[in-house]
């Protein structure tokens, strides 16, 4: 009975993380399209939500372990997963509050690393895995996307520069709809898998699912797809505003270059078995599309804040994951600790969202995009 309660808490927390993942990452696929008026805000998030939902069904290759190759699989218990998820949710909400794009995957890895450290010490962390799966991709993704998008905008300006701006802008807006669709589908394919993996692992640990690496049950697939789609549809408008108009003021050609640059880097990396962060790639591409036109067009101070958030993602999510594990452990191995932590987090979120809503709807709706 006790373990069933913990299982339910882990499943609900995993779906909450999935929602924040969609909510936080909406900007990656829709921000440039909204900014260049390729699509109306609600249409863009609606399309992204549908394609994220569909993407979750495309690939069912679920990761057997959370943060596999980064922490010792033997010490990953439902309580460690729960604490890791809380660390990731905390970081996603904090960066959303400040309107900063950051990687949800790295936040989840950070949370689990912190919880594993609190549970079993430094020996449970695999430094080589951390280097390979977090640090190197975090350095490579923005640089390659920056160069690719910079090159794309220079080529685009050279090829269509002499034409009337009207048809050119209409053409690039149309192209952006295709690149938005590809990005959203790709995001659903990649990110919904994480939640499916977490829930599947929790089910195996609880004895509710047999086998070494079984396929996730249908309800897991549908609920993970629904949570990420709902999160996407809710729209993290603060981050959308940052990505779409605060880093650079972009024209449709720049929006197209940023989206296709980011998408091409992500899909090429996936093809080579070298998964990169969607957020890092798209942000790097937006910076590249702006800097190639004019270096001073980029708000480098804001870019610096974003880079700082990326550097802090792993340690901050890890600290919250470790703290959550510690607090949960005070109440023993049972369900009381996770229940109390979940209750406290829900109350905190209620207060934060309540205060933001009191300041006016412009901070939380499409109006601010």
């Amino acid at each position: 009975m006790e373990s069933d309660i913990i299982l339910v808490i882990v499943v609900v927390t995993a779906l909450a993380f999935d929602f924040t993942n969609g909510f936080h990452d909406t900007a990656n696929s829709v921000a440039t399209s909204i900014s260049t008026r390729a699509l109306a805000p609600k249409t863009a998030v609606g399309l992204a939500a549908i394609l994220n939902f569909a993407g979750a069904f495309i690939s069912l290759k679920v990761a057997a372990t959370i943060a596999g190759g980064i922490v010792d699989a033997q010490i990953v218990t439902p309580t460690v997963i729960f604490a890791g998820l809380i660390g990731a949710i905390f970081w996603n909400l904090l960066t959303w509050y400040f309107g900063l794009p950051s990687s949800s995957s790295h936040a989840l890895i950070g949370g689990v690393v912190g919880a594993a450290f609190a549970a079993a010490g430094a020996g449970a962390i695999k430094g080589a895995g951390l280097l390979e799966k977090v640090i190197v991709p975090a350095l490579v993704a923005p640089v390659v996307a920056f160069l690719a998008a910079g090159m794309a905008i220079l080529i685009a300006y050279r090829m269509v520069g002499g034409l009337h701006p009207g048809p050119v802008n209409r053409g690039y807006r149309l192209g952006q709809i295709a690149s938005l669709s590809l990005l959203s589908l790709s995001h659903g394919t990649n990110d919904a898998q994480k939640t499916m993996g977490i829930i599947t692992l929790a089910l195996i640990a609880n004895g509710s699912l047999a086998g070494a690496s079984p396929d996730p049950p249908l309800w897991v697939i549908v609920s993970a797809a629904s949570a990420i789609a709902l999160g996407t549809y809710s729209g993290g408008w603060r981050i959308i505003r940052t990505m779409g108009s605060r880093i650079i003021k972009m024209d449709p050609a720049q929006g197209f270059a940023a989206q296709t640059g980011g998408a091409a880097v992500l899909l090429t990396a996936a093809h080579l078995g070298f998964p990169l962060s969607t957020t890092h790639s798209i942000t790097g591409a937006v910076l590249g599309a702006g800097a190639a036109k004019r270096l001073s067009a980029v708000r480098w101070g804001l870019a610096g804040n974003i880079f700082l958030a990326w550097v802090l993602t792993l340690p901050c999510a890890a600290a919250v994951g470790a703290l959550t594990f510690g607090v949960t452990n005070v109440f023993g191995d049972g369900a009381l600790g996770p229940l109390l932590v979940s209750g406290a987090l829900l109350a905190l979120m209620g207060v934060v969202f309540g205060k933001r809503l009191q300041r006016g709807p412009a901070l939380t709706t499409a109006g601010s995009a």
Partner: protein, 79 residues
């Protein structure tokens, strides 16, 4: 610890990703250039330039569609 990094895949990414971006960007620019040129030539009743521009637009559209299809195939091949 450095041995954990797949240097080959990393280097391939550094040239393959910009190449993919180049293909997509050129393809879509051809679509825009071809379509605009075809419409202008048709308006001026110049049949041959209109047909030539339309062919350029079509070639760009086919290339762009192939790039999108390749992207979809990459996603599907993960399953």
């Amino acid at each position: 610890m450095i041995a954990a990094i797949d240097i080959d895949a990393l280097l391939e990414l550094v040239w393959a990703a910009p190449l993919a971006v180049l293909v997509v960007t050129v393809a879509w620019a051809l679509v825009i250039r071809g379509t605009t040129g075809a419409l202008e030539a048709r308006r001026d009743r110049r049949a041959i330039p209109a047909a030539r521009s339309a062919f350029v637009a079509l070639a760009g559209a086919v290339l762009f569609a192939m790039a999108l299809a390749f992207g979809l195939l990459i996603m599907l091949s993960k399953s």
